[in-house]
C-alpha cells in the first residue's frame, strides 16, 4: 500500500478509564510519512500526582490538496496506557489492541 508522504493525521481517542486528562486536539500536519504520537505527560508531574489513564484510539490519515482531500483509516486500533505514581511515570505506552 502506498502511503502519502505528507498530510494530516487525526487520532480518535476514547477514554476507557482513569483520572488523568488527555490532550484532545484536532488534525495534525505530518510529512516524510511519519506521524509522531506522544504518550505520557507533557511536563513532569508534581510529586503529589498519582493516577492513570487508559484509552482506545485509532488514526485517520487525510491527504490531497484543497478541493480534493481523501482519507483512510489505519486498520489497527491501539490501546494507550499511562500510570503515574507520586509524580513518577511508571508506565507510558501504546500497544495494538
Amino acid at each position: 500500500m502506498t502511503y502519502s508522504e505528507k498530510g494530516w493525521a487525526e487520532e480518535h481517542v476514547e477514554k476507557i478509564s482513569g483520572n488523568l486528562r488527555l490532550a484532545t486536539s484536532g488534525p495534525e500536519f505530518f510529512r516524510n510519512g511519519d506521524i509522531i504520537d506522544r504518550v505520557g505527560p507533557l511536563i513532569r508531574p508534581g510529586k503529589d500526582v498519582s493516577g492513570d489513564l487508559v484509552t482506545r484510539q485509532t488514526y485517520r490519515i487525510y491527504y490531497g490538496f484543497p478541493g480534493e482531500v481523501h482519507y483512510y483509516n489505519i486498520p489497527q486500533t491501539f490501546r494507550q496506557h499511562t500510570h503515574i505514581e507520586n509524580g513518577n511515570v511508571t508506565a507510558a505506552d501504546v500497544i495494538p489492541w
Binding site: K6, K15, T24, D37, P41, V49, G51
Partner: protein, 240 residues
C-alpha cells in the same frame, strides 16, 4: 530541551506503532459521554476558527466536586454541552449559535480579533502572571502543546500557582507537530508578557481553540484548585 520534561514519544513510521507492555483489555468506559461532548465542542470550534479565520479561546469553570472515590480527578471535567449546528454562520454568530442552549456562556470578540468563550465564572488570575522571559526551544516553537508546557514550567508560573493555591494537571499525549521551514511557529523567545498574551499568540498562530479549565473547588492534594491548559485545535501546516 531547556526545560526538564519527560516525554515519551512513539514514532509511527510507515504507520506502524511501536509500543510495549501488556494491559488489561477489559476496562470499562466511564467517561465516554463526556469525552464525546468535549470532542464535539472542540471540533465545532476548530471548524468555526478556520472557516471564519478567527482564532478562538475557550475558558471554562469545571465542576470538580464529583471526584472518583479517593482518587483526585485530574481531568478537570469539561462542561456538559452539546453544540448546536451553526451551518451558514461564521465568527461570533456561529459560536453563539453553537452555545445557544448552554447556560452561563459569554462570547465576545476581543480587540485583537480573538473569539473568547467563557463557560461559567472562571478563575483566571493565574493567566495574568507576568513572564519576564519565555524561551521556546525548536520543538516548543512548532508545537502548541509543548509551548504551553513551556509556559507552565516557568519560575513565575510556578510561583503564581503556589501563591494562588492552584496546581496544573498533567496533560497526556497528543500528536506531535513537525518543525521546519514555512510551518507556522512561535518566535524563539518572548519578553515581558502575560500568560494570557502568550495564549493569544498561540491562538493566532494555529487558530485554536486554546482551552483553559479551572476547578470551582479545591479538590487537589494539599487543597489546591486544579486547572488544565492545553491546545485543542488543529495544526494544519499552513498559515492560519
Amino acid at each position: 530541551m531547556k526545560i526538564s520534561q519527560k516525554l515519551f514519544c512513539v514514532v509511527v513510521s510507515s504507520f506502524t506503532l511501536i509500543g510495549s507492555g501488556l494491559l488489561n483489555a477489559h476496562s470499562q468506559s466511564v467517561d465516554g459521554a463526556t469525552e464525546r461532548q468535549e470532542n464535539a465542542v472542540l471540533q465545532s470550534l476548530r471548524e468555526v476558527a478556520w472557516a471564519s479565520h478567527k482564532p478562538i479561546q475557550l475558558y471554562y469553570c469545571a465542576d470538580c466536586t464529583a471526584t472518583k472515590g479517593s482518587m483526585v480527578d485530574y481531568s478537570v471535567p469539561f462542561p456538559s454541552i452539546t453544540p448546536a449546528h451553526s451551518e451558514g454562520q461564521t465568527g461570533v454568530s456561529a459560536v453563539q449559535q453553537m452555545f445557544k442552549n448552554a447556560p452561563h456562556v459569554s462570547i465576545a470578540e476581543d480587540s485583537g480579533g480573538i473569539i473568547k468563550i467563557h463557560v461559567g465564572k472562571v478563575a483566571e488570575e493565574v493567566l495574568e502572571t507576568k513572564l519576564s522571559v519565555l524561551a521556546f526551544d525548536r520543538d516548543q516553537q512548532y508545537d502548541p502543546n509543548l509551548a504551553i508546557a513551556a509556559i507552565e514550567n516557568t519560575r513565575e508560573m510556578n510561583a503564581a500557582m503556589t501563591s494562588l493555591g492552584m496546581a496544573s494537571v498533567p496533560i497526556l499525549g497528543g500528536l506531535v507537530a513537525p518543525r521546519g521551514r514555512n510551518l507556522p511557529h512561535l518566535p524563539g523567545s518572548l519578553r515581558s508578557v502575560t500568560v494570557d498574551q502568550v495564549l493569544d499568540l498561540i491562538a493566532k498562530t494555529w487558530g485554536g481553540p486554546v482551552v483553559y479549565g479551572a476547578c470551582d473547588a479545591a479538590t487537589g492534594k494539599n487543597g489546591a484548585k486544579l486547572f488544565a491548559l492545553w491546545y485543542g485545535g488543529a495544526v494544519l501546516g499552513t498559515r492560519f
